[in-house]
C-alpha cells in the first residue's frame, strides 16, 4: 500500500423526506456536522471531492457549481467524481487517492441527493440507451429483479426459502434502523408483512426495496502526518477496489457477478484479507434490494455460491452473527443515492472508530463498505481498519 490515509470524521444529515430544507442547505448540514465533529476549520481543507447522481435526477447539472458555498469549497481545489450508484464509494476512493498521492493532507468528500424533488425511476430508465434497452428496462427494480431470478435459477434455490431469507433481511434491517439516528425508514415489520407486501417486480415486494431519501454525507480524509499532528483517532484505509463491466445488461453473468467479485478481490489483496467472513468484523453492503444483498454476500466471498439464504436464516449476517451486515439498517432503509456509498463508508468508519452508538458492533476492528451502480455494472469497495 501507498502512504497511510485515514478517515478522521464523518457528518450525516438526518436522512428522509426533507422538505424543511432546500438542496444546498441539505449539503451544508452534512458538511458543517463533520467540521463541528472534527474541530477542523474549513480553511484548512486542501481539496474537496463532490459527487451525485446524473443531472436529470438533480434538476441541475454539474452540481459542484451550485454547492460550492454549501461545501465551503470556494477557493478550494475540486474534483467531481460520478459513477452512477457507486458514486459514494468512488468519491471516497478519489479522496483516498488524493491524500495517498501526497498532494493533500486534508480532503473533504461530500455526497448528496435530494430524491424527493426528482424522479429517480424515470432518471434510471434514461441510464439505458434509447435504442434497445430503454423500452424494457424500467427503473432499477426491473434490472435487479432479473438479476435475482438469474441467481435463484442458477443455484436452484427453492422459492419458499428465498422469500423467507429476503423477509428475514428486511425485518433485521428495519429493526436496526431504529438504532441509527440518521436512518430514514423506521417501521417495525414482521416476516409476514414482508412476504405479503405489494409486489413491485417479481420477486421483489415493497418491503424488499429501498426508499427515495433526501440526504447528504461528508467525510474528512487525512494523511498519516496530519492525523499524528491532530492527535486524532482514525479509521485507516486498508484496501480499495473497483470494477466495471459491459453496458448491455444481457452481455454478462449477473449471478457469478465478475464486477463484484473483482472489486472485492482487489480490496482484499491490499488489506491482506484471505477469509473475509472470519476476518471482517462488520460489512456495510449496498443493499437497495434484499435479494441482491444475498448475491453480494456470495460474490464477496462471505459464503459459497447458492449458500447465502441458508446462512441468512441461521443469523450469520445478523447483528449478533458471525459477520454482521448493515447494522445501520443499510441502503434498504436509507437511500439518497449520490450519498449512499459514502454513508456506507462513514458507517464503516464509525464502527472501527467505536463511535457507532446504539448500532455499534462490539470491538469492530475491520469493516467493509460497498456501493453498486450503472446498468447493474459497477462495484466499489473500501476496507477500513482501526489499526494503521
Amino acid at each position: 500500500m501507498a502512504r497511510p490515509v485515514g478517515i478522521i470524521g464523518t457528518g450525516q444529515t438526518k436522512h428522509g423526506k426533507r422538505m424543511d430544507v432546500c438542496y444546498p442547505e441539505l449539503v451544508r448540514e452534512a458538511v458543517m456536522t463533520v467540521f463541528a465533529e472534527t474541530g477542523i476549520d474549513p480553511g484548512d481543507i486542501d481539496g474537496v471531492v463532490s459527487g451525485t447522481m446524473p443531472s436529470m435526477m438533480e434538476g441541475i447539472a454539474l452540481t459542484h457549481f451550485y454547492f460550492a458555498d454549501a461545501m465551503q469549497a470556494s477557493g478550494k481545489q475540486i474534483l467531481k467524481t460520478e459513477t452512477c450508484g457507486s458514486t459514494g464509494v468512488s468519491i471516497a476512493h478519489t479522496a483516498y487517492y488524493w491524500v495517498a498521492s501526497g498532494m493533500a493532507d486534508l480532503v473533504l468528500a461530500v455526497g448528496h441527493e435530494k430524491m424527493n424533488e426528482g424522479d429517480s425511476q424515470a432518471t434510471m430508465t434514461t441510464v439505458a440507451e434509447p435504442f434497445y434497452q430503454r423500452f424494457f428496462i424500467a427503473g432499477a427494480p426491473g434490472v435487479f429483479s432479473m438479476q435475482s431470478q438469474m441467481w435463484t435459477d442458477r443455484y436452484g434455490i427453492p422459492e419458499d426459502k428465498l422469500r423467507d431469507a429476503a423477509a428475514y433481511i428486511s425485518v433485521t434491517h428495519h429493526n436496526s434502523a431504529f438504532d441509527n439516528p440518521y436512518a430514514h425508514i423506521k417501521i417495525r415489520v414482521t416476516m409476514d408483512d414482508v412476504k405479503n407486501a405489494r409486489i413491485i417486480t417479481y420477486p421483489v415486494r415493497l418491503l424488499d426495496v429501498c426508499p427515495n431519501s433526501d440526504g447528504a454525507c461528508a467525510v474528512i480524509f487525512a494523511s498519516d502526518k496530519m492525523i499524528r499532528k491532530l492527535g486524532k483517532k482514525a479509521a485507516w484505509v486498508k484496501g480499495v477496489g473497483y470494477s466495471g463491466e459491459e453496458y448491455y445488461f444481457g452481455d454478462s453473468d449477473k449471478a457469478v457477478w465478475q464486477a463484484a467479485i473483482q472489486a472485492a478481490k482487489q480490496a482484499y489483496k491490499q488489506a491482506g484479507i484471505r477469509n473475509p467472513r472470519k476476518e471482517l468484523d462488520v460489512a456495510e453492503v449496498y443493499n437497495p434490494f434484499t435479494y441482491q444483498e444475498m448475491l453480494f454476500y456470495e460474490c464477496f466471498g462471505f459464503c459459497d455460491f447458492g449458500q447465502a439464504p441458508d446462512l441468512v436464516l441461521k443469523g450469520t449476517f445478523g447483528r449478533k452473527g458471525e459477520l454482521p451486515c448493515d447494522p445501520s439498517g443499510g441502503t434498504l432503509c436509507t437511500n439518497p443515492i449520490g450519498a449512499t456509498g459514502l454513508i456506507r463508508t462513514a458507517e464503516a468508519a464509525l464502527q472501527v472508530m467505536g463511535k457507532a452508538g446504539d448500532h455499534q458492533v462490539p470491538g469492530a476492528k475491520l469493516a467493509l463498505a460497498h456501493a453498486m451502480g450503472g446498468v447493474d455494472q459497477f462495484n466499489g469497495i473500501i476496507i477500513l481498519g482501526s489499526e494503521k
Partner: protein, 380 residues
C-alpha cells in the same frame, strides 16, 4: 513532486460531426492510443474518464455507456464530471499513490447529439433565481466581457483579434471544427449572439474524444523516448451566485499559483514557452492570460496587439486554434493538454510552432464566467 508522472501517448478525433456512432468513435481513439504506445488493453492499470450527463445525448450515467468501449472492462476506474483536466489530475494521483504504473485518461463528448451549449449550460443555473432569467454560459460571458472592456480598457477590436488569430491557426489543425482566414471586421460584423459577443467570438459545438496514457517514471522510459512530464497541476472553484463574484478577479490565479508552486514556476511569462488556454469566448483568452501571469494585469489587450501570442510569436497561445476552433465541451481541457504534448514532442504537424517548447501550460474552464478553473504545467 514525489513520484513523477509522464504523458507517454496521446490520441484524438476530429471535432466536426461524424457519421460514426459514439461507440465506434470511442473505440477508435482508444485503439489508436494503445497502438501508438504498443500496449494492450490488459497492460493498462487504471482508467479515468471525463464526461457529463448533460452533454451525453440524453443518456444518464454517461460512464455506464462507454465503459468497455474504452478498454475499462473489469478494470479499476472512475469518472470526472465537467472538466477533463480533472481526469488528468486524478489519473496522475492514482500513479503518484503508487497503486498503478499506467493510467488511461479519456474525455468523451459527442456534441452533435446534444442541444446547444446555451441550453445545456442553462442547466447550471439554479431553478429558483437564475434559470428563470435565462442565465447560461454565453450570457454570463457577455456580462464579463462588458465589465472587462470597461474596467481594463480592452477594445472590441482587441477581443476580435483573438478570434482572427485562433481561427487562422486552426487552418493547420486537422482536428479543428471551425477554421478560416477572417478579418477583425468579419469577426465584429458576424451575427450578434449576446451583446457584445458576436458569433465568431463564441466557440462552436464540436465532437471530441481525447485520450492520453500516463505512466510512472520507470514505466514511461519503457514506453517512449519522448515522455512529457506533468510538472504541476491545480484547480480552484469560485462561489456560485454570479452577482456575488468579482468577474475580473476569479479563481484562475489561485489555480495557476497551485500549479506553478508545484512546478517551481516563479515567472510564468518567461518560464512558459507555450500555452493552450480554454477560451470559449474570444476575450477570455486575454483575461485568462492576465490571470495566468503570462502578461501584466490589464495587459491582455497590449499582448494581442504585440503579436507575441501568434503561432510564431515569443509566447504562442493556442496554436491549435483553441476552443474557438474546436469545442467538445467536456473534452476541451484535456485537448489543450494533448495539443501541448504534441508541440513539445515536435509532432504538431502544420501547427507546430517554430520555437522549441520545453515548458507548456494547459488550461481548462467550465461554469459561468469561469466559476471553475484547472491548470496543468507540462515539461520535457
Amino acid at each position: 513532486m514525489a513520484n513523477k508522472v509522464a504523458i507517454v501517448g496521446v490520441a484524438q478525433n476530429a471535432g466536426c460531426e461524424s457519421k460514426d456512432n459514439y461507440y465506434d468513435q470511442a473505440y477508435q481513439v482508444t485503439r489508436e492510443l494503445l497502438d501508438k504506445t504498443g500496449l494492450k488493453k490488459d497492460d493498462i492499470g487504471t482508467f479515468i474518464s471525463a464526461s457529463s450527463d448533460i452533454f451525453h445525448g440524453g443518456i444518464s450515467c454517461a460512464n455506464a455507456y462507454y465503459w468497455e468501449t474504452t478498454g475499462a472492462f473489469l478494470k479499476n476506474g472512475s469518472r470526472q464530471d465537467g472538466e477533463s483536466l480533472f481526469a488528468l489530475f486524478y489519473g496522475a494521483m492514482r500513479i503518484m499513490s503508487g497503486h498503478y504504473d499506467t493510467a488511461l485518461v479519456i474525455a468523451l463528448c459527442k456534441g452533435s447529439e446534444n442541444p446547444s451549449n446555451e441550453s445545456c449550460t442553462l442547466m447550471y443555473a439554479d431553478p429558483f433565481y437564475q434559470r428563470g432569467v435565462g442565465l447560461n454560459e454565453t450570457l454570463a460571458a457577455a456580462l464579463q466581457m462588458k465589465l472587462y472592456m470597461k474596467k481594463s480598457r480592452i477594445t472590441a477590436e482587441q477581443c476580435a483579434k483573438v478570434a482572427v488569430k485562433n481561427l487562422g491557426n486552426a487552418l493547420g489543425n486537422p482536428y479543428a471544427h471551425r477554421k478560416g482566414r477572417y478579418s477583425v471586421e468579419d469577426v465584429l460584423k458576424s451575427e450578434l449572439v449576446a451583446d457584445p459577443l458576436t458569433e465568431l467570438q463564441v466557440a462552436p459545438k464540436s465532437e471530441g474524444i481525447v485520450a492520453m496514457l500516463l505512466a510512472s517514471e520507470e514505466k514511461a522510459k519503457k514506453i517512449t523516448k519522448k515522455p512529457v512530464w506533468i510538472k504541476g497541476f491545480g484547480s480552484s472553484l469560485d462561489s456560485y451566485i454570479l452577482g456575488d463574484r468579482d468577474l475580473l478577479n476569479g479563481q484562475l490565479r489561485n489555480a495557476a499559483n497551485r500549479a506553478y508552486k508545484m512546478a517551481r514556476i516563479t515567472d510564468p511569462g518567461k518560464q512558459i514557452d507555450l500555452a493552450e488556454i480554454s477560451e470559449p469566448y474570444a476575450f477570455q483568452e486575454l483575461l485568462w492570460m492576465e490571470d495566468l501571469g503570462l502578461c501584466s494585469p490589464g495587459g491582455g489587450g497590449k499582448m494581442i496587439d504585440s503579436g507575441k501570442t501568434e503561432k510564431n510569436g515569443a509566447l504562442p497561445i493556442n496554436p491549435s486554434g483553441g476552443v474557438l476552433a474546436n469545442n467538445p465541451y467536456v473534452s476541451r481541457g484535456l485537448q489543450r493538454a494533448v495539443e501541448a504534448v504534441l508541440q513539445m514532442r515536435g509532432e504538431a504537424g502544420e501547427r507546430q510552432v517554430e520555437k522549441r517548447v520545453k515548458t507548456a501550460l494547459a488550461h481548462g474552464t467550465h461554469g459561468f464566467a469561469g466559476q471553475c478553473h484547472a491548470v496543468a504545467v507540462l515539461g520535457r
